[in-house]
Structures are given as C-alpha cells and as structure tokens.
Amino acid sequence: MINAFTILFCLTLIYLAVTTRLSAYVLILVLQGMLVAGVHTLAFFNDFAWSHVVVAAGVLLVRTFLIPFYIVKIIRDLDLRHGDSTRQYHPGFLIQMAAVVVGAFVLSNYLSQLTPVNVVPLGAAIAGMAAGGLLIVRRSLLLAHVIGFLIIENGLFLLSIGVQAEMPWMIELAGFLDLFVLIFLMGIAMNHLKTHFPEGESDDLTGLRE
C-alpha cells in the first residue's frame, strides 16, 4: 500500500509537467499532502503510537488544508489567473520530468545496495525533490516557485520515511509550523511584490544585479 501511494505521488509529478493551470498546481499540493500523510500512517502502522497520529494529522492540516487554502487566496488576491507567459504546455518539460522520476528510482535502487532503505518511497522522495527544483527552474511565475518549494518539502517528508529516520514528533510538528510561517511570509512578500512587479515573475527581479 505504501508503494501504491508513493507511485501515485510520482504520477502527480508527471501531472505537474503537463498542466499549465495554477488551480491544478494547488490540486497537486492537496493530493500530495494526502498521500504523504497516508504513507506516514502506513509506515508506522505496525508500531502504533499516538505521536504518529498527531504527525499525520499535522501533515493533513498544514499540507492539504492551510497551505493550499492560503495559496488559493493569494491567487485570488493577486488575480494571477492570466498573464503568465511561461505557463504553456511544453513536451520538453514532460520528458525532463519523466527522466527525473526514472533517474530517482535508479538512484534509490543503487542506494538500497549500500544501506537498508525503502526503495520505492526513497525513489519518490528524490523524484519529488528534483521535480520541485525543476519547476522552479522552468517556470518564472513567483507563485510557481513557491509551489515548487512545497513539492520539494513533500519530497523531503517522504525522504525521512524512505531512509527510515524517525524524528521526535514535536520536531515534526515544529517543522510544519515553520513551513506554514514561511509560506505565510512568502505570501505577504508576493502581495507587496505585486505593487512593484505586476507580472509577478522572477524575470522582473533584476534590480539588484551588479
């Protein structure tokens, strides 16, 4: 079941490469939030503790509810539905994303020969982190960068499951709080950026170059 969830996680990454709508990005975040919460619950199912339930609830609350809602609010406030020149379907992006996913699983398989790890969740984690980075590089809309950052964070969460590194639950929750505050600050910054850079694209941020 864990493998099924993580493969679904990889499919959301492929969807990320073919979609051009911001609302689809938010949907991907919601789906990924549910999937990583599910993977976390299943990973520790045999070793039940209330702390695992609390962490899974924290993932659901922050990653599938608070952050996506906040991003929808930013999209509405900034009227970002139109005008992004880089939001075009491009087959090259799909090919790159597919290569990233395949490469991640090859790397994960190689790492499994060195140390005991969960190959499929680890592969999905590496793919998620690389895919988030790819989105940041390929898209110039600042909001897409924030979404790329969140996808990297989802990959990071899977990574800790993939390498079976259990962290104290209080630290996991503090990490979620950090993430939410960070996204909140980025949202405020984007609101202010809109007044100076109406397009909201990273190409506009050139005022500080030498």
């Binding site: 950052f149 990297i152 590194a165 259990e166 104290p168 960070l182 202010h192 005022g207 030498e210």
Partner: protein
Amino acid sequence: MVTIFVLLILPLITTALAAGYRQARLSYWLTLLAGVTHLLASLYCLITPFNPFPAGWWLGVDRLGAFFLTILSHTFVLVVLYSPGFLRRMQGPEYDRSRRLFYPALNFYLLANTLVLIVQQYALLWVVLELTTFSLVPLMYFYRTKESLEAVWKYLFLVSLGLIFLFVGILFLSLSARGVVDYTGFLVGRMTEVAPQLNPLWLKAGFIFALVGLSAKIGLAPMHPGDIDATSNSPAPVAALMAGSMRSTAMLVLLRFYQVMAPTQERMFAQRLLICAGLFSLSVVAIYMWRSRNYKRMLAYSSVEHLGIVALGVGVGGIALLGALLHLVFNSFGKIGLFFMAGNIHQSYGSREIDSIKGLTRRLPWTGFVWAVAFLLIVGTPPFGIFFSEVFILMGMIHGDHWWLLALFLSLLMVIFIGMSRSVLRMLQTPEATPQAATGTVERFNLSHALGLYAALVSIPLMLFRPPALVDALNAILASLGTTL
C-alpha cells in the same frame, strides 16, 4: 535558573513587551536590558564554564556555544545602542510601521539566534535556524522599497532552499548513526562520543549537504547572492547584525557537524571540503570586489571573504583553527564599525554608489576617520586583531605543509585588498565639487562614531593582553573540535 531566564525567557518577554507597548523609548531600554544581561550571562558561561541546563538535554551551553553566544550578544548590544540615532533619522510616515516592528523584531532575533546556539539536538537545530530567517525579514524590509522587497524575497527563498539541503544532511547524519544511537541520542555530545562507529559514507554525505545548505546562510560562494542582496539593502544596524552575528550563528551549526567528523577518519574529507569552499569564496570575492559600485555591496562581499577565510582556517586545522575562531570575532568587530559608518554616509549623501561619495573626510570628518580605521582592521593591518588571526591561519598552513594553499591564499587576499582599497580610498580622498563645509554644516563626534571606533579598536588590547580566561576558553573549544595546540 537565572542564566536560563536571561538567555531565553527575558528575550521572549522583551519581544512581547516591545510588540505590545510600541513606545520607542521603553522598547529601547527593554531591548538594551535584554542585550546587556545576555552578554553578561554569555561571558559567564564562557569563562566559568557553566551549563545551566541538565546534561543530556536538547538544550545546553557548551564552551563552543558560549563563545558564539558572546559574539551574538556583543554585536546585539552595539546595534541596540546605535539604533535610537538611526530611528531618529527615519521619521517619515512611510517608516511608521517599520519603526514599530523594529524593536520587537530585534528582540526576537536575539531569542531565535540564542536558540540556535544552545540547541544540542540536530533536528531541532534545523527548526530553530528557520526562526532566525523569520526574525530578520521585518528588519530587512525596513525601507519598504522595491529593492528591499526584492532582497527579502531572494533571501527568504534561497535560505529556505538551503535549509532543505541542511535537513537532508541531518537525515543522512541520522542514517549514519543507525544501529549506534536512536533518535533520542541524536545530540551533539552523544554523536561526538560515538562518532568513530558511524557509517562513513552517510557521514560524508551528511556533511556535504550541511555545508551546501548552510552556505546560503553563512554567505559562502556559490550560495552567497541572496545574502549579499539582503545585507546590502538592509538598514545599517540590520546589516551590522547580519554580518556581525547571523553568519557566525550559521557557522556554529556547520561546526556542530564538524564536531562529529573530527574524531573520525572522515575528518580529512571535511577539511578538504572546507578548504575548497573557502578558496572558492575568496576567488568569487576577488572578482566581485573589483566590479562592485555600491559600498554596502562591497562590505557584503567582504563578509563572504572573511567567512571564506574562517572556512579555510577550520579546514587547515591546528593553529589555523584558533585563527579561524578569532577571525570570526574580529570580523564581527570590523563589520559593526564599517556598517555603522556606511549608515552615516548613506544618510548624508543619500546614495550607496561609490562614485557618488566624494570628499568623505571633509564632509564627514569623524565618519571618514572611523571608516578608515575600521577598513584598516578589516584588511588585516597590524596591530589590529585580523592581522593576528590571519597570521595564525598562515602558520597553520606552514605547519601543515600547505605551500600551494599559502601562495593561493596570499594572492587572493592581495587582489581583494587592492580592489577594496581602491574603492575606500576613492571615497575618502576624491574632492567634492561643492564642499559641504562651505555651507556651514560640520559633523560632530557622536555615539555612532564612539561605537564604531570601539568596535574597530577593541581587538588590539584583546590580542596584546590575551586575557587568560579567554585563552582557557579557546583551548577548551579547540579540544572539543579535536585539536590541541
């Protein structure tokens, strides 16, 4: 209990009070109280040595942490003393919100940095390091201009991406300890004890990710651009805070990883990486120091240079490690003096462009004087402290037979020195077209000059008299990093 109160609870209370009361005068005195008591507590922990927390806790003050706490609170106190003069100059209605947020954010900065310096649990270290970024955002965005907004965005984004790398490093570190300690033993002290039993592959991978991730916050190349933009577009006291203490705090986190590497066979690997990071940073600065047209950017690049020297010193090891620790302190002193004076220059000329600053010694004689003295410190002129710390690093290279490194290091330092001198001397000596003195305004000696001069000069007695308590503390710190002299 009193020490815990002063280090953690008092900054929390003063943050809340400064946010609640919003009276600049009261907030100033509260912030100063928090800073001075914090400095005294840090010195006490450094000298005695004293850990106010129970052994084996997630929080604890070791000698290394106390050393960095002292750098933090010393910088903080000077910045707080400089702040009323700065805020008096920022009286326009466009600065109302920034002024109200200034002292609460400053207190929160102290709290967040203190947490980083006393946390002993690796995963928690990552969480609290993010808090330091949050505390800086309202301070960096003080001017509320297009440029400061762009700088904030880039800093927030790049540093947060860097911290993701750091978290991967922490995960790999925990992976290296599989079968040796579980997550309850994921503490600096425990990990150092069991270091020789850790899996070398994951240990090395963890260090690589930690170095790359922390580079954004320390300001090491190639992750430095966000930090350069943020430092150069922040107000003078905030830039001094970032250059004088924030980078040191991030360096401590890297040293926490180095502490685990030090007792293992992988120590050489970590040292080589640090040497590469240091040399690369110096090379980047050697190019950009010549291209920089903005004096605050020039100072920000100088910070990249000096943190690069620190990384190099740690990498070389032995007496160079002592040099690196002293270099952190003296760089903090020099940057405080330079950024305070940069604030005065910006206030008078209304520009950050080097070409716009002419006749500095005539228009602002005291600022020009302190600027020149702090410049002499930062480029390592004897008898200032940086001269001695760089000599220690050079001695480390000679003892370690790193002759090629010595040659490269000196060459890069020379290129950077000439590049920086060119800009600083032009600002000091180029005559002004219409001298300000003719209009009747003559600059008087004020608190900012006294603070800048103190920061620039204090390294001389420290190196000449070498207080025994400081020498003891430094020896203990070196031992904790696996070095005995």
